[in-house]
């Protein structure tokens, strides 16, 4: 069995190698999924992404801050079924404001420098997802859960 340190490394490697994640929000029981450019902290406790304030996902998160985030390594090939790793995080989303926002933006833009105009726009919000649990799927159907102790 993998040690906790090994699992954490696996998560970290996936989060570093992937640029995009799928974020799930809901409104009145209707789930809604969106693609976002994300970055994760080294301690795996937080995921960050930027969204426009006029978007559905933003308005959904205002009414219900519970979200799920999916990151995976598939490359749209048949081999994905045995090779790809998927990680779903569940947690709470909230908007980060200055002064913390400035520091987090640095981290965010070091991974996504091309999103500078978007991320710095006053019409966009920087969202922090505080992860409660991770669900890791590999070898097609092997699922392990990791819960973060608070």
């Amino acid at each position: 069995m993998e040690t906790s340190a090994e699992v954490q490394n696996r998560l970290r490697n996936l989060f570093e190698s992937q640029r995009l994640a799928v974020v799930a929000t809901q409104n009145g029981g209707q789930p809604y999924a969106s693609l976002v450019a994300f970055v994760a902290t080294d301690d795996l406790r937080h995921l960050f992404f930027v969204t426009g304030r006029t978007t559905r996902k933003f308005s959904n998160m205002l009414s219900d801050s519970r979200v799920a985030v999916l990151v995976n390594s598939s490359v749209n090939q048949e081999s994905d079924f045995h090779e790809a790793i998927s990680i779903t995080a569940t947690g709470i989303a909230e908007e980060i404001k200055d002064p913390e926002r400035r520091d987090i933006l640095k981290l965010y833009l070091s991974k996504h420098p091309y999103l500078e105009d978007f991320a710095k726009s006053p019409s966009c919000a920087l969202i922090r997802v505080t992860a409660r649990s991770y669900y890791m799927v590999q070898n097609f159907q092997n699922v392990m859960e990791f819960h973060i102790d608070r």
């Binding site: 426009g52 006029t54 978007t55 308005s59 091309y114 105009d117 006053p122």
Partner: protein, 732 residues
């Protein structure tokens, strides 16, 4: 990785990464030609810079906001301006800039240099980028040289370069740029030489000017021209220029100066020198095994080659070469100064006089025949001024663009359109009109019985003072709800105007609503403090020119509107006569000429029908978030008011979002009521954007099909920071 390489170390395999110009210079040096000391910053340096700073993807994001073929040239210019600013604001990573500085210092110490583009595509010799990318002459100090390397890189993405690449089908994602840094040779006379005349292959051509080559290359100085016989190496003809100016090195950069009188009557080259230059061109042709286009200079007695490239136009071109057209998109400062003089002192006064002359004519006293002739006459006057508008006034808008580039180069602002703040709050005619409207609205706001009478449509016994003010307004600016340029069927009635005035009166601005004036004075001082001596004088002149150009962009339409109003007045008189005699029981016959001329004018611009949602196989399409261009910062939400024809403006309500195809200045009077502006036509310097910026409103332009995809009353959010319009509910 090799960031910078000296010409003597360039090998054959380096051709691609040092670009066409760099490689040709290396070969010339090896072949024993006299060339200036030269370093090449490789295209790998460019690629590493755009990769590490994220600029590579940022540029492509910018270029892919919408399909390139759907972009108006103005939008491409905006795109290029934003990209250029990215280069100016993103420093070269320290490890690379350190190596560059070291090599530059070792080669040139503190000597001034020329920083030139060297496009790798040019190395293939199928396409010539001559003149499309920028070169900077007389740059001193490693920091300044590095900054100019960035500017040369940015010129890869200029509007002209983008259009040209698109036309010859080059993949923009593969574009890269090498840069040549040359010791400056301050020649007494300079020029170009074509070893083979593209128009007659038995001949060669030399062009020459006094001073530096820059004046010849950018067209500011007319050159003397020699045609030579390739076989006999003799001069066939010499066409002297009107020698008035030369370009010389200033403290930094170059400047255009009056040519000293003793040189004005003397050709820059004597016969012997012209033949000497031509022999050099033939030698280069022989060396490269293809006809050459040579840039050269003579310092004292020394003839030096500055660059050499194959003459591409000798090969039959499939599509023709329209580079000159793209280059003509940009006007020089000198050219714009002449244009300004003509517009301000000749065209505008003539335009006002033409409108006044027509206004003085009492139409009711004309016979039917004379009225018909008058309509034709006015139609011609209107056509004439519409043509002048396109030929003279539109190009003058380049004054704003030229200033924008100089401002951004000096200031590196976060907002690439900050420069507009120095141009706004000038005395635009449309602002004067809006002020008059606000005064009328104030009268209604402070007079409940007047407001009541207007509400109830009791317009017979209105306050004479108020009516007089309304008439003054209509006389000056015409009926606001009449279309301009193209419309000939306008029924003039003040009802539309009253509607707008009532709406304005119900929402009179408070002190708190007024735009805080930005500290324009401080910004102006800061901008001018970036220059010294001669350059400062030019900067002051350029700012003045830009203000006039900015103001005219709005005023010209207002003046054109006045001309058209006179045509409309004559047509209206004709229609009233026809109506009166058809329905008024008069026995007097209508002159055939008059009927004919009125019928011939029966055309109006057709508006597109609004977008209809028709379910197809149960599939309904609806726009949610549309991407255009950010044209005025801010975020606002409100019900949409879609303007399909000018008369719709009368329905405009306070707090609505103005959605239109193209705002012309004659429509902008509703802007003070609007919460935001969305326009199909794209660009930062179009009227809708200019007026939105004046009033501090969020504005998005360049949304294709805006008036079709958005319906009246739709809830719309305008994100003027990112250039996005969201339709449907959104949290703010």
């Amino acid at each position: 990785m090799t960031w910078i390489i000296s010409t003597e170390n360039i090998q054959q395999e380096d051709g691609q990464r040092v670009g066409g110009k760099g490689y040709a210079l290396a070969l010339l040096a090896k072949g024993g030609f006299a060339v200036p000391k030269t370093l090449c910053v490789t295209s790998q340096t460019y690629q590493e810079y755009v990769r590490r700073t994220g600029l590579r993807e940022r540029i492509l994001l910018e270029l892919n906001r919408k399909s390139f073929k759907d972009m108006r040239w103005e939008e491409i210019w905006d795109c290029a301006t934003r990209i250029r600013n990215m280069f100016l604001r993103k420093p070269i990573p320290a490890d690379i800039s350190g190596q560059l500085k070291q090599a530059i210092h070792a080669a040139f110490h503190d000597k001034a240099v020329v920083v030139r583009s060297s496009a790798p595509e040019e190395h293939d010799a199928v396409s010539s980028f001559a003149g499309l990318h920028e070169s900077y002459v007389n740059i001193q100090g490693t920091d300044a040289i590095l900054e100019h390397i960035s500017k040369v890189w940015a010129s890869l993405w200029s509007d002209a370069a983008l259009l040209y690449r698109q036309e010859i089908g080059l993949d923009v994602t593969k574009s890269a740029m090498a840069v040549v840094i040359q010791e400056i040779i301050v020649g007494d006379k300079s020029g170009v030489a074509f070893s083979k005349n593209p128009n007659d292959t038995s001949q060669g051509v030399i062009e020459s000017v006094y001073g530096l080559n820059q004046g010849l290359v950018d067209g500011a100085v007319e050159p003397d021209r020699w045609i030579l016989d390739r076989q006999k190496k003799t001069i066939i003809s010499h066409t002297p220029a009107e020698r008035t100016h030369w370009v010389i090195a200033g403290e930094s950069g170059v400047r255009l100066d009056a040519l000293p009188e003793k040189l004005a009557n003397l050709p820059p080259l004597n016969t012997q020198e012209a033949r000497h230059v031509f022999e050099l061109a033939l030698k280069a042709e022989n060396y490269f095994k293809s006809p050459q286009d040579l840039e050269w200079t003579i310092r004292q007695k020394d003839l030096v080659v500055l660059q050499s490239r194959p003459i591409t136009t000798l090969a039959p071109q499939k599509n023709g070469d329209s580079r000159s057209w793209y280059l003509s998109l940009h006007r020089s400062f000198e050219n714009l100064k002449h244009l300004r003089d003509k517009i301000e002192n000749e065209l505008i006064p003539a335009m006002i006089a033409a409108a006044d002359k027509m206004a003085r004519r009492d139409l009711s006293k004309l016979s039917d025949q004379d009225l018909a002739a008058e309509i034709n006459h006015r139609w011609e006057i209107n056509q004439k001024w519409t043509n002048i508008y396109w030929e003279e006034f539109i190009p003058y808008a380049h004054g704003v663009r030229l200033f924008g580039q100089i401002y951004n180069d000096a200031m590196h602002p976060e907002d690439p359109y900050e420069f507009i703040d120095l141009l706004t709050h000038t005395e635009m005619a449309s602002l004067e009109r809006n002020q008059m409207l606000a005064d009328l609205a104030n009268r209604i706001g402070n007079n409940p019985s007047l407001a009541k009478a207007l509400h109830e449509g009791q317009t017979e016994n209105l306050d004479p003072l108020f009516l007089e003010a309304v008439n003054r307004f209509v006389e000056k600016f015409g009926d606001l709800t009449c279309a301009v340029t193209g419309g000939t069927q306008c029924e003039q009635a003040p009802d539309g105007l009253y509607k707008i005035l009532l709406e304005m009166a119900a929402h009179l601005p408070t002190e708190a609503d007024r735009q805080p004036m930005k500290d324009k004075e401080a910004l102006q001082q800061k901008f001018l403090s970036m220059f010294e001596g001669e350059q400062k004088k030019t900067a002051v002149e350029l700012l003045d020119l830009a203000r006039s150009s900015y103001q005219l962009r709005d005023d010209d339409n207002i003046y054109l509107g006045r001309i058209e109003a006179q045509l409309l007045a004559a047509v209206r008189e004709a229609r009233q006569r026809i109506d009166a005699r058809l329905h008024g029981g008069s026995n007097k016959k209508i002159a055939a000429e008059l009927l004919k001329v009125v019928e011939s004018l029966d055309h109006r611009p057709q508006f597109q029908p609004p977008y209809q949602q028709k379910p197809e196989n149960g599939f309904v399409i609806q726009a949610r978030q549309l991407i255009g261009q950010p044209a005025g910062p801010g975020l606002a939400k409100g019900p949409a008011r879609v303007i399909e024809q000018t008369a719709d403006l009368a329905e405009f309500k306070y707090g609505e979002i103005l959605i239109c195809d193209a705002v012309d200045p004659n429509m902008t009077f509703v802007v003070p009521l609007a919460a935001g502006v969305v326009e199909r036509r794209g660009g930062m310097l179009i009227h809708g954007a200019i007026i939105a910026r004046e009033y501090g409103l969020p504005c998005v332009t360049g949304i294709p099909d805006a008036t079709r995809l958005i319906r009246n009353g739709d809830e719309v959010t305008v994100d003027g920071y990112l250039g996005i319009v969201t339709i449907g509910s959104a949290e703010l």
